[in-house]
């Protein structure tokens, strides 16, 4: 009892008003949208998009497959096959739309949630499973698909992307058939010094880099208001380059906006910030419990804006796809799901001694000794076993 009272006294002694009343909201900014949640195609004067029926069907297939892989991964984590998984549920359109806007020479720098972009770049999903299973820290060659390693430290990769873009400039690879870079990061990441420094570097160098922020409204348990009091896309203006907010659940809009920004970067017009306005439909990762900090009503309202359903409705309404097409995609997704599941379950653990590899480009004498000592130590168990 006494403890409680002391607590109350300490509480009132330091009552401080919150930094700002939450009601004072900034005016609602424009959101680039080409496909409404109901699946209706709308035109935008700045973003005319010429896509064939086959392309839209291709995007639909991508969306369904990446959601399926994600779904399998969550299940595999529950079964203990993966250590953890960061779900992309709800962000498929942002990732597929932007991912399909990239050309083969463009380079992408992801966070840890860009499974949809990884798919578009052609990375084997098993590489992602290796990481989340604890078999590797990534273990792919970034140059193989021009898709950099996943970066877990929030915001770091935005600087790497900017430096890479500065390299493209120095290679003289900006211009008519130039290359550009896309850096992925979240709403929470925009608070990091690294991200703000990346904006500055990109700006003063006019670097060919597109900053693609998936604003999924949450950074683990912290809502957007903990990171910003201004719409994120408007930050760009202060750094000296354009910022755009796009409906992150609209794959066509994400494709169009990213295409335009990447083209501008390739041609030497410098960086763009794209804020893809979306929602993290799942937990932050499989170890997180969002019921502790957010209301289910919010989730329900975003369910109506599902990125996949609207494409399906559009394809049906405009008769660009037969019912059999959807069945075929579902069947293919199920087959891919089954194959990643089996491959994950059969994935062997790495060799213990492999942990000594790749620390530096050549093995040092010191590390070679440590490795030999550890090998002898492991052998001593084998010998003991045999001796029994």
């Amino acid at each position: 009892m006494a403890v409680k009272d002391a607590g109350r006294a300490a509480r009132s002694a330091s009552r401080v008003p919150p930094a700002r009343e939450p009601e004072r909201q900034v005016e609602s900014p424009e959101l680039i949208q080409l496909l409404t949640p109901e699946g209706e195609r709308v035109e935008h004067p700045d973003y005319p998009l010429d896509v064939s029926a086959a392309e839209v069907r291709g995007l639909y297939r991508d969306l369904v497959i990446v959601r399926r892989i994600d779904f399998e991964a969550i299940a595999l984590q529950r079964q203990g096959e993966l250590g953890i998984w960061a779900s992309l549920l709800g962000q498929e359109a942002a990732q597929v739309g932007s991912g399909r806007a990239l050309g083969p020479r463009d380079m992408a720098f992801p966070t840890y949630r860009e499974h949809g972009v990884a798919w578009c770049r052609g990375l084997d999903p098993m590489k992602l499973f290796e990481l989340f299973r604890g078999v590797s820290h990534g273990g792919w060659d970034p140059t193989a698909h021009n898709f950099h390693l996943y970066t877990i430290v929030i915001g770091s990769q935005t600087l790497h992307a900017t430096g890479y873009a500065m390299g493209i400039q120095r290679d003289g690879a900006v211009g008519e058939d130039g290359a550009a870079v896309i850096a992925y990061f979240g709403d929470g990441a925009t608070s990091q010094g690294d991200v703000n420094e990346a904006f500055i570097w990109a700006s003063v160098n006019n670097a060919p880099v597109v900053f693609f922020c998936q604003n999924n409204q949450w950074a683990i348990s912290e809502p957007l208001e903990r990171q910003t009091r201004t719409p994120l896309y408007r930050r760009a203006i202060g750094f000296g380059f354009p910022g755009i907010r796009v409906d992150g659940n609209d794959v066509l809009a994400c494709l169009a906006v990213t295409r335009k920004a990447m083209q501008a970067a390739r041609e030497g017009q410098g960086p763009t910030l794209i804020e893809a306005f979306t929602y993290r439909m799942g937990a932050h990762t499989t170890t997180d419990d969002p019921t502790r900090y957010r209301l289910s009503a919010e989730l329900e309202s975003w369910k109506l804006k599902d990125p996949i359903e609207r494409v399906k409705q559009y394809l049906i309404r405009t008769q660009q796809a037969e019912m059999s097409f959807f069945d075929k995609v579902d069947a293919e997704a199920a087959q891919i799901g089954a194959s990643v599941r089996t491959a994950c379950q059969q994935m062997p653990d790495p060799e213990p001694l492999s942990m000594f590899d790749d620390v530096l480009t050549s093995q040092t004498r010191q590390l070679a000794d440590e490795r030999a000592e550890f090998a002898a130590y492991l052998d001593s168990f084998a010998t003991a076993e045999e001796g029994r």
Binding site: A10, R11, E130, V153, I220, D349, M355, V359, Q366
Partner: protein
């Protein structure tokens, strides 16, 4: 006595710190409504309000930098860095400012800032979530660096850290968060061991095993196993890594004549290296064997499917204990 997990014990200690001093604050990522990813600050924002338990923007340099400013204004921030691998964006603020400002002022400035860091491996996590960077901080003059091994120390030490007028880097062994033990939450801390003191956890006569944080439990288990082989192991929980309680360390080694230092961190340039050097300098004629170190090889923390090989375990500790008898 109450049985508490380490996570809960730290939570109770933090609650006491907030109650005892209205200037104490908690700040970090997800420490408010969520109560931290390890629930160490669970319920504190609800009870003490958003002005005292602050969900900060996602920026570690900002957390420590603003904590320094708050401290200059008379507050006593207790910061949480979510995982060991994420302290580095704050490293500049810690090393160049937090650790040096008092010295720069020639005395008048005090920075009572606590930086809590869940550290160490063994939880099957992805990269940057299992590291042991304590030596980097112990190498930095101007910081106190401590680590608790279990619930009772966690409860007491976090309060002592909160009361310290010096910056304290407080390492919490994350894989022990759910270990339970009896904690006395009724009596005050007047009789508690000082923050900078080591504790002889298990007395013994043949060999001294020095450890801290997550290795305290492992080494205690090793001592029990060794006693089955007729070896009397003295386990010393260092608790404070900067400064080191050399009096307790030297007394133990002079008694046993053998010493093994155990930590999860990389052996190269680690706490064990520092301790081994000091023992060699001060206890040379008492030694029956060189001081041995058990820790990680000179590689980054590996993928989690390899961590059982990377981390010291019972076998590797016992192996080192055995080797001290081979000289």
């Amino acid at each position: 006595m109450t049985t508490l997990t380490l996570s809960r014990a730290l939570n109770e200690g933090l609650r006491k710190a907030l109650e005892n001093n209205p200037k104490a604050l908690i700040m970090g990522e997800d420490v408010g409504k969520l109560g931290g990813v390890f629930r160490v600050t669970d319920g504190l924002q609800k009870d003490f309000g958003e002005a005292r338990v602050i969900d900060t923007p996602l920026a570690e340099s900002g957390i420590i930098g603003t904590a320094i400013g708050l401290a200059l204004r008379g507050y006593r921030p207790i910061c949480e860095i979510q995982f060991d691998g994420f302290v580095f964006p704050a490293f500049d603020q810690i090393v160049s400012q937090l650790a040096k400002m008092r010295y720069r002022s020639r005395g008048p400035v005090r920075l009572p800032v606590v930086v809590r860091i869940p550290f160490g491996g063994g939880i099957g996590a992805v990269e940057h979530h299992s590291e042991s960077p304590e030596a980097l901080f112990a190498h930095t003059p101007g910081l106190r660096v401590v680590s608790c091994g279990g619930p009772a120390d966690g409860y007491a030490m976090i309060q002592q850290a909160a009361e310290s007028d010096d910056p304290v880097i407080f390492f919490e062994p994350k894989r022990r968060y759910w270990d339970k033990a009896d904690v006395d939450v009724e009596t005050g801390l007047a009789d508690a061991l000082p923050l900078a003191a080591a504790r002889v956890l298990i007395p013994g006569s043949d060999v001294t095993v020095l450890c801290y944080g997550p290795m305290v439990r492992t080494c205690s288990e090793a001592a029990v196993a060794a006693s089955g082989d007729g070896r009397s192991v003295e386990v010393v929980d260092l608790r404070s890594l900067a400064p080191l309680d050399t009096a307790t360390i030297f007394a133990s080694v002079r008694k046993t004549g053998r010493c093994v230092v155990v930590h999860e961190a990389v052996v190269t340039g680690g706490i064990g290296a520092e301790i081994a050097a000091r023992i060699t300098e001060e206890c040379f004629y008492s030694l029956e064997a060189p001081v041995l170190r058990v820790g990680a090889p000179t590689t980054p923390y590996p993928p989690s499917r390899l961590e059982e090989h990377y981390l010291p375990d019972l076998d590797r500790i016992l192996d080192a204990v055995d080797r001290t008898f081979g000289y």
